[in-house]
Amino acid sequence: MKLPIYLDYQATTPCDPRVLEKMLPYFTEKFGNAHSVTHSFGWEAEEAIELAREQIAELIGAEAKEIIFTSGATESNNLAIKGLARIYGEKKNHVITVATEHKCVLEAAKILEEKGFFVTILGVGPDGLIDLDALAAAITERTLLVSVMAVNNEIGVIQPLAEIGALCKSRNVFFHSDGAQALGKIPLDVDALGLDLLSLSSHKLYGPKGVGALYVRRKPRVHLAPEMDGGGQERGLRSGTLPTPLIVGFGEACRIAGIEMEEEAKQLRSLRDRLFQGIAGRLEGVGLNGHRDQRIAGNLNLSFAWVEGDQLLRNLTDVAVSTGSACSAATLEPSYVLRALGLNSELAHASLRIGLGRFTTAEEVDFAIDAIVGAVERQRAQSPLWALRQEGSALVDR
């Protein structure tokens, strides 16, 4: 077993060796620019990209033409939200999103607000899920877009996408979802879920970093203004030379996920349950953040009462986990996602995001249980609050 154990699969996933294998020839002999129309180097690259486009489309029940390649889910979310607003903003100027969205969705919404849009940020329940009635009540005649992430990057909860999609359709509102954490983890079907726009990431599903995609519905057509102008690639929606090897890898990652997702989820669920029972069975004061069942198989987010999160991380040098999303990891602020569930700042601070994935083994899970339980116990042993609690003081109950 190689240390440190990687249990941060929501931050990024290792590139699957099968994916890497498919990418390699496009780094070396098949190096052409896919937009070179005058020679076979270009044609060969273009052909590989179109195959990948089909593989990605297939995983979400879309048509290949509806897939626009980007540099990643952050860019896709920017393009979806700002690009839509630039086309339809004259007619409709209200956007609805959720407090637990990824930073890039919230930041994109903030930019619209600066441009005069109205933005509604819906709260979530203690389980991390949105309230459909609250969403329905927030939609007005001026509402252009509802953007709700499919799977949360910190707590792994799955939002009720089909219900949101049906609601959006009945109220004539565009529905965008950040699917970065969902792709290849749960079945996604753009028609069944009523999605108009869906952001996708490669490096969260064992593909390479630096590539993502945006699904853009064609029937009925959703129009977007490009964020990047230039050579007019991707039907004018996203200029720039396409990175052929990365796209080939992304396509292969989707192909593999399509075949293995169901079996993999089963296996991850059993590893995750083993991890949860292993920790919660040996420690008191462990809280599971996010809905117990409406969640992906590869995520646990746990709060540990009477410990301090950053110190806990420092004591966990052999287990790579995180206290929140990677993007804000360096700031050491308590997670705004956990705060939105109603956790107080101390408990939000004392939380770990544990992400399991394709290469996680039972042996690693058992090692992680011992490491996490040990670290929490050591820290509690030094805490006067914990000592009072052990002596039965009601003052420190929480």
Binding site: S40, G42, C327
Partner: protein
């Protein structure tokens, strides 16, 4: 196959491939604070230093992007409120953006400095000038240092698109007097999908194009493409002695042009009378459409292009040549571009095919 389309994309350098393979196998999100994350972070910061040093900038001035197009787009949107002037021969990633005025070029494709001076004098709001160091189609080098000095006298900022020039001539952000410059990895034998916008002043107040997680000192959100960035830096480090490589490429390019001028009467070579990149030759055979020549060359196993690669399948006359007043020949122009892996033997092989194919096509036209 003989590949002479380096200005479209260059084959990946071995050093870049090795760096990427290592980074791909290591994994990790550079924003994570655990060991996997910290190793990835270190890789990026080392790459930043390498790229910065290559253009004489501060490491903090380097903003990694998804490529040259994004870097150019970011350059134009970074300083809102300024009117944007761009030369008529800029890359579409500049010209298709929010341009307020186009600065004309002369018949060699060199920006008209007198016209620029006049235009800047007439501007009432602060301006931003976008000027490429060297053109992607003709290789013609712009008087960037002079233009930048002039623009600064008028209070304008200057962005230099160095995407084609980098690796083929000296690119020094300070010597050129640029406020920003854009780079692309895959044009120098690095990977596709990564580039950079380099700021002369790392503390400049930049408005982001892509917002979110606060990466790249809040200038460019999104999980960093660690292997791509590592590959970019490895390619930069592998550039070696740029003047020596430039001389090698110029000798090969000049050999092509000398043979072509001797053997193909009536051939035009664009930008030959002014400074050009050492690796680029843009030429036109009289009355032979570019497409006809390109198809014949492709059948003979030679990969070249007509103008730039990114015009999405359309093979119209080159806007660059049209801006130079070459409308009669624009439909016949092809671009040869050489690079790090080009050998003397390839150039000999190319010349044998090219001369005989061109002579045949010219004869066919005369017979028709």
């Amino acid at each position: 196959m003989i590949y002479l389309d380096y200005n479209a994309t260059a084959p990946l350098r071995d050093a870049a491939f090795a760096a990427m393979s290592e980074a791909l196998r290591q994994g990790g999100n550079p924003s994570s604070v655990h060991r996997h994350g910290r190793l990835a972070r270190r890789r990026i910061e080392e790459a930043r230093e390498t790229v910065a040093a290559a253009v004489n900038a501060a490491p903090n001035g380097v903003i990694f992007t998804s490529g040259g197009t994004e870097a150019n787009n970011l350059a134009l949107s970074a300083f809102p409120g300024r009117r944007i002037l761009a030369s008529a021969v800029e890359h579409p990633s500049i010209l298709k953006g929010r341009i307020d005025a186009v600065v004309p070029v002369d018949r060699f494709g060199v920006v008209d400095l007198a016209a620029l001076d006049e235009m800047l004098s007439a501007e009432k709001t602060p301006a931003l000038l976008a000027l490429m160091l060297a053109n992607n189609e003709t290789g013609v080098i712009q008087p960037v240092a002079e233009a930048a000095a002039l623009a600064h006298r008028h209070g304008a900022l200057v962005h230099g698109d160095a995407i084609q020039a980098f690796g083929k001539m000296a690119v020094d952000i300070e010597v050129l007097g640029l406020d920003s410059l854009s780079l692309s990895a895959h044009k120098i034998g690095g990977p596709q999908g990564v580039g950079a916008l380099v700021l002369a002043d790392p503390e400049a107040d930049v408005t982001s194009l892509i917002v979110g997680g606060g990466q790249e000192r809040r200038h460019r959100a999104g999980t960093e493409n660690v292997p791509g960035i590592a590959g970019f830096a490895a390619a930069v480090a592998d550039l070696g002695d740029i003047p020596a490589e430039a001389a090698r490429l110029a000798a090969l390019r000049d050999r092509i042009e000398k043979r072509a001028l001797e053997s193909l009467p009536g051939i035009s070579i664009f930008g030959r009378k002014v400074g050009r990149l050492p690796n680029t030759s843009c030429l036109a055979l009289p009355h032979v459409p570019a497409q006809t020549l390109l198809m014949a060359l492709d059948l003979a196993g030679i990969a070249v292009s007509a103008g730039s690669a990114c015009s999405s399948g359309k093979l119209g006359p080159s806007p660059v040549l049209l801006a130079m007043g070459e409308s009669a020949l624009a439909g016949s122009a092809i671009r040869l571009s050489l690079g790090w892996a080009t050998t003397e033997a390839e150039i000999d092989g190319f010349l044998d095919q090219f001369i005989s194919i061109s002579q045949r096509l010219m004869r066919e036209h005369e017979a028709a």
